[in-house]
């Protein structure tokens, strides 16, 4: 194997800048186009551009960034390149909470569910996601064993999914709503959602960066990581918290969007070999660009109808992974 003398250190920065440029381009395109056609803003009060399209594009990018970040963390935490940030059960928790909210809302008297109304579907989804992850950690009896966490996540996903199905069977009028949620929908992203996503994103990024070296060490194995004197337990709790927060916020605002969390770190790793400090940031930026692009495509492909963005991410993400499997050019997944 001929040695590579090129020092790739400047590359991550270059990729980050390229992704930021793509983000800016995407944001402008997303602000000007949509399912009702091309529209130049008529001023600062233009409803279509500033109240609908701009927050939607920003929200889509932020959601993708959160998912990409969570994906990079999950793959490092589980030492598995096929790990998905939803492995800990957050998506099924959110779906169950949302279905339950609709059932209670529909069944109960309006004043009884006043607090539910203030919390909203979004709040319910977020809480459901976090509770599901807590349940997974409880089932795994702590955060020590990756295998137990994965199994716990599978159990929680399956059981909560079954409960959701049961609810929709008993109250079929919520079935369409639940399905809409499961397909992912960026149409409801407002400036309020954007604020929430920014807050969660910054917090998650800071914590993930602090734990980046721990993720690096974990790639050598738990034993070696322990021997390097790192506070593994604390770091694991924090990282699981990061995954839960990111996926919870993303799912609450935009529903279930598959593949971004799984594919974004892979895309980054296929460009440059970086440690987790850069991997986390680049995955976030890549995830944002991917979802923004998918959102724009969802709006334009079948205008004036909009495709659910989750379908597009599955197609594109799945297609990309399939292509990589075929190529295997020096990159071992």
């Amino acid at each position: 194997m001929p040695p590579q003398h090129l020092d790739p250190t400047p590359k991550p920065l270059r990729w980050a800048l390229a992704l930021l440029v793509l983000t800016a381009v995407g944001w402008v395109v997303g602000g000007l186009s949509g399912s009702t056609g091309w529209h130049w803003p008529t001023g600062s009060q233009d409803v279509l551009t500033w109240t609908i399209r701009a927050p939607r594009s920003s929200g889509a990018w932020l959601t993708g960034a959160l998912l990409g970040l969570a994906g990079a963390v999950a793959q490092g935490l589980f030492r598995n390149p096929l790990a998905d940030p939803f492995l800990l059960g957050s998506s099924s928790g959110a779906a169950l909470a949302v279905t339950l909210a609709w059932v209670v809302w529909g069944a109960a008297a309006p004043d009884a569910s006043a607090w539910l109304m203030s919390v909203g579907i979004t709040g319910a989804a977020f809480m459901g996601a976090l509770l599901a992850v807590l349940l997974t950690v409880a089932l795994a009896r702590g955060v020590q064993h990756s295998l137990r966490l994965l199994l716990g996540g599978v159990v929680v996903s399956v059981v909560l999914g079954a409960l959701t199905s049961l609810l929709t069977l008993q109250w079929p009028q919520v079935l369409a709503n639940t399905q809409g949620f499961m397909l992912g929908n960026t149409a409801l992203l407002s400036w309020q959602s954007t604020q929430v996503l920014v807050a969660v994103g910054l917090l998650a990024w800071l914590v993930a960066q602090a734990c980046a070296r721990v993720l690096d060490a974990l790639s050598l194995g738990t034993e070696a990581a322990r021997s390097l004197g790192l506070p593994l337990n604390l770091a694991r709790w924090l990282l699981i918290g990061v995954v839960a927060l990111c996926t919870g916020a993303a799912v609450a605002q935009a529903g279930l969007i598959a593949f971004i969390g799984l594919a974004a770190p892979h895309v980054v790793r296929s460009w440059c070999r970086v440690t987790h400090a850069w991997l986390i940031t680049l995955s976030a930026l890549t995830g944002g660009v991917l979802l923004l692009a998918a959102d724009i495509a969802a709006r334009l492909l079948m205008a004036p109808n909009e495709l659910p963005v989750g379908i597009l991410t599955a197609l594109v993400g799945g297609g990309y992974l399939l292509w990589r499997l075929q190529n295997k050019s020096g990159y071992a997944p």
Binding site: M1, P3, Q4, H5, L6, D7, P8, R79, Q144, Q209, A210, A212, R213, D216, A217, S219, L220, G221, E223, A224, R226, S227, L228, G229, L230, P231, R269, R273, T275, A277, G330, Y331, A332
Partner: protein, 270 residues
């Protein structure tokens, strides 16, 4: 002079098993010396090394005393112990797509703060020095997955050496190394002990292990004997521990173990 490592009454029990993995182990390792741990398969050598490193899996029950530099192991903070004792595990997997340089840089973690800051030039100097020493500097941008087994092992050794710890614990460090690199390893060890470092290694390669300054003979969860290969009682104990399937012979001032067919073999050709 305080021993670098002192082990007394050490016992290790896995949950749900009757026989303990280690039982009433007594052993010492002197500072600035190389101690080799040898013994038949399943004797508990790796368990012993993990126990003294504080790296037993959670769930294992440990009793007895382990003292590093005269202080009990549980009085050492996690980071202080990590700076004092560097660990190279058996058959370390993972990090296939990482560049050698990044893997070796991980060795500097015990001496760094948590937040990933800009790289310290001192850390970079140490990393380069260890990589040059292990003949891996030219491979620094190569991912581990693209290397041969021997190259990977040398990168891992560089990682251990980059910790610059007083004590190095290594479990099967010669795996995948060809004889020239095994000879190199011996040289590195001798250089390290010459500089005052303590090395404790579990070795399958008896011929290399017999050159150690001090040997722990482990069988069936106990340390049967401690000493040098030059001591006749030690040699007798070694041969006995291996069921007399080996015999030790002096060749050119070194003791060498030669495999021996058993007198009571069932596989005799007729």
């Amino acid at each position: 002079m305080t021993a670098a490592l002192n082990v007394k009454h050490l016992g290790v029990q896995w949950p749900d098993t009757d026989t303990p993995a280690l039982h009433e182990v007594f052993a010492t390792a002197a500072p600035a010396q190389w101690t080799a741990i040898i013994g038949p398969n399943g004797a508990g050598k790796s368990t012993l090394l993990r126990a003294v490193a504080g790296l037993l899996p959670l769930g294992a029950q440990l009793h007895g005393d382990i003292e590093w530099q005269g202080r009990p192991i549980n009085t050492w903070s996690r980071q202080a112990l990590a700076r004092h004792v560097a660990w190279l595990g058996q058959g370390e997997q993972g990090a296939e797509e990482w560049r050698a340089l990044d893997v070796v840089r991980l060795g500097r973690l015990p001496s760094q703060t948590w937040w990933p800051s800009a790289s310290d030039p001192e850390d970079e100097r140490i990393v380069e020095a260890t990589m040059r020493q292990t003949d891996t500097w030219s491979l620094r941008h190569t991912p581990l997955g693209s290397m041969s087994g021997g190259e990977r092992q040398r990168v891992r050794l560089a990682r251990v050496m980059a910790v610059r710890a007083k004590v190095l614990l290594m479990d099967e460090p010669l795996a995948n190394l060809d004889p020239p690199h095994q000879a190199d390893w011996l040289q590195w060890i001798q250089a390290l002990t010459g500089q005052g470092h303590t090395v404790i290694s579990v070795l399958h390669e008896l011929n290399i292990a017999l050159r150690a300054d001090h040997i722990w003979l482990v069988a069936q969860g106990r340390v049967l004997a401690q000493g040098r290969a030059s001591d006749a009682p030690m040699r007798a104990a070694i041969e006995a521990a291996f069921d007399h399937r080996i015999s030790l012979h002096p060749i050119q001032d070194q003791w060498v173990a030669l495999p021996q067919a058993s007198k009571h073999s069932n596989l005799q050709a007729d």
